[in-house]
């Protein structure tokens, strides 16, 4: 059984046609609008695309928070583009720290999977590969977040209990 520490998986149902969602995730300009980055070129399978963080135009509150990272460079390595089904790329999660050269560090894989659901769209986002990310990179990520956090060892215990069955 794989551990839960290596991946994040999100599921959501979007009340929009699959063609609309596909364009929003697989076209660089559209992706940038909701994610909050400007990309210098289109998404092409097997190719790298560079860009930088810009505040999202979709949510003013988030845009305010993103201002701190405005201009920070981003790099995506596009892996697969399978229309209406799958879009995937690799990147450095939290590459927003300008003091760290992350170019040689491991990347995570981000996958968007789409499924039609009666005129709506079921979207699954999986980001995996965190096991390989050095701890000091994670600490940089923590500093970007002032939010509270409590240790939940019970989750690990629960995992162990479940995994042993």
């Amino acid at each position: 059984m794989a551990t839960d520490t290596d991946r994040i998986e999100k599921h959501t149902l979007l009340r929009a046609p699959i063609e609309r969602v596909w364009r929003a995730v697989s076209e660089a300009e559209q992706f940038g609008r909701w994610f909050g980055m400007h990309l210098d070129g289109p998404f092409v399978a097997g190719e790298r695309v560079t860009g930088h963080i810009v505040p999202t135009t979709v949510d003013p509150g988030v845009a305010e928070k993103q201002k701190a990272f405005e201009g920070a460079p981003v790099e995506l390595w596009v892996e697969r583009i399978e229309p209406m089904r799958l879009f995937s790329f690799r990147w450095h999660p939290y590459a927003a720290d300008p003091n760290v050269d992350v170019a040689s560090e491991p990347t995570t894989l981000v996958e968007f999977r789409l499924e039609e659901a009666k005129g709506a769209t079921h979207l699954t986002i999986v980001e995996s590969g965190f096991d390989a990310i050095p701890l000091e990179r994670r600490e940089a990520a923590f500093r970007a977040n002032e939010g509270g956090w409590t240790l939940q060892l019970t989750l690990i215990e629960k995992y162990v209990t479940d995994a042993s069955r």
Binding site: T3, K10, A16, A24, W34, V58, A141, N145, V160, S164
Partner: protein, 107 residues
């Protein structure tokens, strides 16, 4: 005790025996190698090896008490690992809501 800063916490936790050791230290507090080996389906030697891996990842620390080595959790290491995923997970939740706003309201 080794510094936790460069340690592969997630890799250290990606093993069922090590996770079981972490869970037992969490539930029972500090334990000797003997106690941990008695509870695990592996040899004392294997338990010692797993404890070293946890130590290098900054997740556990050992100290000598008389003739025994007593091991306990270092909670900051665990906290960092989980907190990182929580943070990125929350970022994705927020990004999905922005995507939702874009595709549902413009449709």
């Amino acid at each position: 005790m080794r510094a936790a800063s460069a340690a592969p916490v997630f890799a250290a936790l990606g093993d069922d025996t090590r996770l079981a050791i972490v869970a037992r230290l969490s539930a029972r507090g500090p334990q000797s190698i003997t106690e941990l080996a008695d509870a695990a389906p592996v040899t004392r030697q294997a338990v010692r090896k797993h404890l070293r891996a946890l130590e290098e990842a900054g997740l556990a620390a050992g100290r000598r008490v008389g003739r025994e080595h007593i091991w306990e959790l270092r909670r900051t290491g665990l906290a960092d690992a989980q907190r990182y995923l929580d943070e990125i997970s929350a970022q994705w939740d927020a990004a999905i809501e922005r995507l939702r706003r874009m595709v549902e309201e413009e449709a």
